[in-house]
């Protein structure tokens, strides 16, 4: 494990005439969104790659300093837009840790369920589009059919199919009902079929394997040294999953496995994602059948002053109305500790953490995101070196780079 700058110096391309430079992006179908690579090529072999990012830098963290803890959830949504709810859960997990709010059991289970749904949604798109980039169109369509089902489920719960803005400090926006539960049950029933179909289409597909096996190998030492997390690290043999190692929400009560692989290449990352979907489905089943009854939001009195009261209470009682105004009005609001805290959850892409510095008001003084995509994309030049030009899309696809999370 070289820990010196010698590693970087070795990568400097020899100044030869026949080397040529290729600009890849920022608008390219395989980047899915916007990122740019300057590739130095020797024929078809990639000698070096310099990523240029920031083509979607929209000032999320600056906005966090101007919106309160409830409002910022709408912005966080737009960060990793393959799995918006996972970001919301991560954000409010950090806020609740800052404020010391203990969620109700129902809310814990509901959020667990939703974050696993999001994991499936994220991995489905990742598997589908990385196959699409390599020329396999059918798997993409199969995956999108299932994604639409998940959209339906979250739309039923929150009213929006994409950016749900569903969580609130100390709870969620609306409680779910039996009809929703039945919808999820249907999904749990139907999903294994799609999962098996995708397996049949891709896992032993000769062309697919030839394109991704042995490509972009990340060793375990490098994965740790480059701060990788999530499926990328687990595919390199790093056994770390915040759901197991630092159990949050309801993960402590549930029975599931952490999926790892030793390969470290694109194929291993694909397999880890496929396996994680199966595990997520197991978690969904468990949480759904054990969904506790009771209130979904933290009690307003005795609990926290930061929680929005239930709508019937707002309309029918003066206390509820006052509490509603206390939370909503710009000149009022709740108090937070004058402290700084870091809290992370296991998002589909890896460890998604928030570092919040709060100066006592209901607006964060500074809210830093630890974005997994950003950290994984930094590894990209290391992975692509020595491979072919056509492997660029394979590696990009397997790292699951989301530009909005990358640039924020």
């Amino acid at each position: 494990m070289p820990l010196t700058l010698a590693d970087l110096e070795a990568t400097d391309a020899p100044d030869k005439e026949y080397l040529w430079t290729l600009n890849f992006g920022p608008q390219h179908p395989a980047t899915h969104t916007t990122l740019r690579l300057i590739l130095t090529l020797d024929g078809e072999k990639v000698i070096n790659a310099i990523p240029h990012i920031g083509y979607l830098h929209s000032g999320f963290e600056k906005l966090a300093e101007h919106l309160d803890f409830n409002q910022y959830v709408t912005i966080v949504d737009r960060m990793n837009y393959l799995s918006p709810l996972a970001n919301e859960i991560a954000w409010h997990h950090a806020v609740e840790k800052l404020m010391g709010i203990e969620l109700t059991p129902r809310c814990k289970y509901l959020r667990t369920l939703l974050s696993e749904l999001m994991r499936i949604q994220d991995h489905l798109l990742n598997v589908g589009t990385s196959a699409l980039d390599l020329g396999a169109f059918t798997a993409f369509l199969y995956c999108f059919t299932m994604r639409e089902r998940i959209y339906d489920i979250v739309e039923f719960a929150s009213g929006q199919r994409f950016h749900t803005s569903y969580t609130r400090v100390g709870g969620v926006l609306f409680d779910v009902n039996l009809e929703w539960v039945n919808k999820v049950r249907e999904f749990v029933r139907d999903f294994p079929k799609t999962h098996a179909e995708t397996h049949r289409l891709l896992t032993r597909n000769r062309i697919f394997i030839d394109r991704i096996k042995g490509v972009g190998v990340l060793t375990k030492e490098d994965a740790i040294n480059f701060s990788c997390a999530g499926p990328v690290a687990r595919a390199s043999g790093v056994v770390r999953d915040l759901r197991k190692d630092e159990p949050y929400l309801a993960y402590g009560d549930l029975d599931f496995k952490v999926c790892c692989s030793q390969g470290g290449d694109c194929y291993a990352r694909y397999l880890v994602r496929m396996q994680e979907m199966a595990e997520s489905l197991k978690i969904i089943e468990q949480t759904l059948e054990n969904l506790p009854a009771g209130p979904v939001n933290v009690e307003v009195d005795g609990g926290s002053r930061a929680v929005l009261p239930a709508k019937p209470a707002v309309y029918r009682s003066i206390e509820g109305l006052i509490q509603h105004f206390e939370v909503i009005m710009p000149n009022r609001g709740f108090e937070t500790p004058k402290e700084e805290i870091y809290a992370a959850v296991e998002a589909p892409n890896g460890e998604l953490g928030f570092y919040i510095a709060s100066n006592g008001t209901k607006t964060a003084y500074r809210a830093r995101t630890r974005p997994p995509s950003y950290i994984h994309f930094a590894v990209f030049p290391h992975l692509i070196r020595g491979h072919m030009l056509s492997d660029v899309v394979a590696i990009l696809g397997s790292l699951n780079i989301i530009a909005a999370e990358l640039d924020r």
Partner: protein, 198 residues
């Protein structure tokens, strides 16, 4: 008609024929930067199937396309790229601004996000929503097709009179002018000489 035409022969104006052909074979160039790009993908894939409306041939090279769909927010670093892509597209071409961010900046009223792409490139149709549902985008495309059928011309005469930017001026124009007069702000001389229409 006295001259009795043979079967399967129709008479029409050249403009109308061209519009009919153009409107039903729009080739979109998906300029997908953010969340709306995923909804654009959803529109083109299994459930919503944009192919039913003759606009599914997504081409990622602007030289092959005649419909630019700006899906997602465009930031200061990206806007020159967008402008270049727009200039590279061959005539006749149209532009759909998809989603609140592309239309007006949306929730991102920050230093980096361009407050509506219509200020810097011409836009024909806005699809609001954050992000718009696939049905909404399909409705937008159908609306654009109808508009091409009704107002299109063979040589693009209808575009000539559009000499102004489609979008509004910056809301904080006065404030910006004041700021600029008061102090030569460090950080301003990026990109081009500021043109605030003084």
């Amino acid at each position: 008609m006295a001259v009795g035409l043979p079967e399967n022969v129709f008479l029409t104006k050249l403009d109308v024929a061209a519009n009919w052909v153009r409107s039903n074979s729009l080739w979109p160039m998906p300029f997908a930067t953010a969340c709306c790009g995923i909804e654009l993908m959803a529109t083109a894939s299994s459930r919503f199937d944009l192919a039913r409306f003759g606009a599914e041939v997504m081409r990622f090279s602007p030289r092959q396309c005649d419909l630019l769909i700006v899906a997602g927010r465009v930031v200061t670093k990206m806007l020159p790229v967008l402008q270049r892509i727009w200039l590279q597209m061959p005539e006749p071409k149209w532009c759909i601004s998809m989603g609140a961010c592309a239309c007006s900046g949306g929730v991102f009223d920050t230093y980096a996000v361009v407050q509506g792409v219509d200020r810097f490139i011409p836009v024909d149709l806005y699809v609001p929503g954050c992000p718009p549902r696939p049905e909404q985008l399909i409705a937008g495309i159908i609306e654009l097709q109808n508009r091409i059928k009704q107002t299109g011309t063979l040589n693009g005469r209808e575009f000539i009179q559009r000499t102004e930017a489609t979008g509004p001026e910056p809301l904080e124009l006065e404030e910006l002018r004041r700021l600029r007069q008061a102090t030569p702000v460090e950080g301003l001389p990026i990109f081009h000489a500021p043109d605030l229409k003084t």
